[in-house]
Symmetry: C2
Subunit: 240 residues, 2 copies
């Protein structure tokens, strides 16, 4: 039995220009691992309508679930909602349910619900709204694509409300052993270990600190007994 798969689409010139370091990818990856959904690909693309449409279509066809982040605010560069509608050839306009959420929120704050803010009520037909407990403006889910904000606090809140609606698989378990020897010394036995445990993923992540070469060996899998057995064998191969 294999786990459901997921992809993430990060929409943002600010990351590709080197200005901002993405934080949402790392967060989502960790959350998905916990519930047994395998994050298989992340794409970061620029604020370009054709690129967004093509990526949404490609990822939506290739993976069970797609998460997008960024581009659903009130400013001119927030074009994600319209692009997702185009990707699915769906009509999009200001929707009453989203407008009501914004109206209530801005009334309470004593802020005008102006034309710009109303842009955030543009939701494709048939999409389900994703709650935003931080700043009200909703995300939405259409087909297998969940469209969420890029601001980390909002992104995380939206992920929290989406994840319980998804069917996960076996959570990915992982154990790490740090070995203070060069990868070249451990590669042979490690490869043999990987062959002994074909159901596990055994990764070697080298590091170099203060002139010392070493590697973190990470054993991942959904079968805890197998992970334990492989880790025991690994520790026996390279006693400290």
């Amino acid at each position: 039995m294999t786990n459901p798969t997921a992809a993430m689409l990060v929409i943002g010139d600010e990351i590709l220009s080197g200005r901002t370091r993405d934080a949402n990818m790392h967060y989502l990856a960790g959350e998905l691992a916990k519930i047994g959904i395998d994050l298989k690909e992340v794409r970061v693309i620029s604020d370009d309508p054709d690129a967004i449409v093509a990526a949404v279509q490609a990822l939506s066809q290739s993976f069970d679930t797609v998460f997008t982040s960024g581009g659903i605010g009130p400013t001119h560069d927030d074009i994600t909602a319209d692009c997702v509608a185009r990707a699915f050839d769906t009509h999009i306009d200001i929707r009453d349910d989203a407008r009501a959420i914004l109206a209530a929120h801005y009334k309470k704050a004593g802020t005008e619900l102006n034309t710009a803010r109303l842009r955030m009520a543009r939701i494709p037909d048939d999409a389900a709204l994703i709650e935003n407990p931080v700043s009200a403006a909703p995300g939405f889910s259409i087909k297998n694509v969940h469209v969420m904000a890029g601001v980390p606090a909002v992104f995380q809140a939206m992920v929290a409300s989406i994840l319980p609606t998804l069917t996960g698989g076996a959570p990915l378990l992982s154990q790490t052993l740090r070995i203070n020897r060069g990868e070249g010394d451990i590669a042979g036995p490690l490869g043999a270990l990987a062959q002994d445990f074909p159901g596990l993923s055994i990764g070697s992540y080298p590091f170099q600190k203060n002139g010392v070469y070493g590697a973190n060996i990470v054993i991942r899998g959904t079968d805890g007994t197998q992970v334990d057995a492989a880790m025991m064998q690994l520790a026996g191969l390279f006693p400290e």
Copy 2:
């Protein structure tokens, strides 16, 4: 005149599993912006041969230059070199020039050049070696794809030796203005400003700190006079 384009391919289960936070994307993005190469897409994919081959082919066809990171070490999970060779239907084996580099390095270190380490001399025919001043094992360039290590210190050293060989364009200039007002208040005038300067990218990146809503407005472009003019106009729209 448009700038050359680039894409990056990050190969690594360790990022998709949430274990490690990628550092190379942010570094490369910043370096490319300086020399006027537009980073258009980053893909993070797992250590899966078919996925790597497909991504190398797709990105190599769509962009002027492609940079890969990860998967060129001596362990069983280092499969990038073989996958890149497969993507270009090119023969790959241990190459004498790469072997000589490793032999010299390990001789000096008093370390055996064993079978595992020799894997790092597997280089596709016709590829040019990329120097690795940190730990010797070379990267390589084939067609428009530069294959580099994932360890940040090595990745950065390889980028430093590749960039001078590339033809850049006009460096991307950028100025930022922090505005302590909600995006909904600034969106209207900001959209009009973006229309006044079609040659620039004007992005709004909202934040929320201690209950205060604001946005960093980033004006990017290759024409410094235009960037200055737009920033002046922006500052006039939202005086502190």
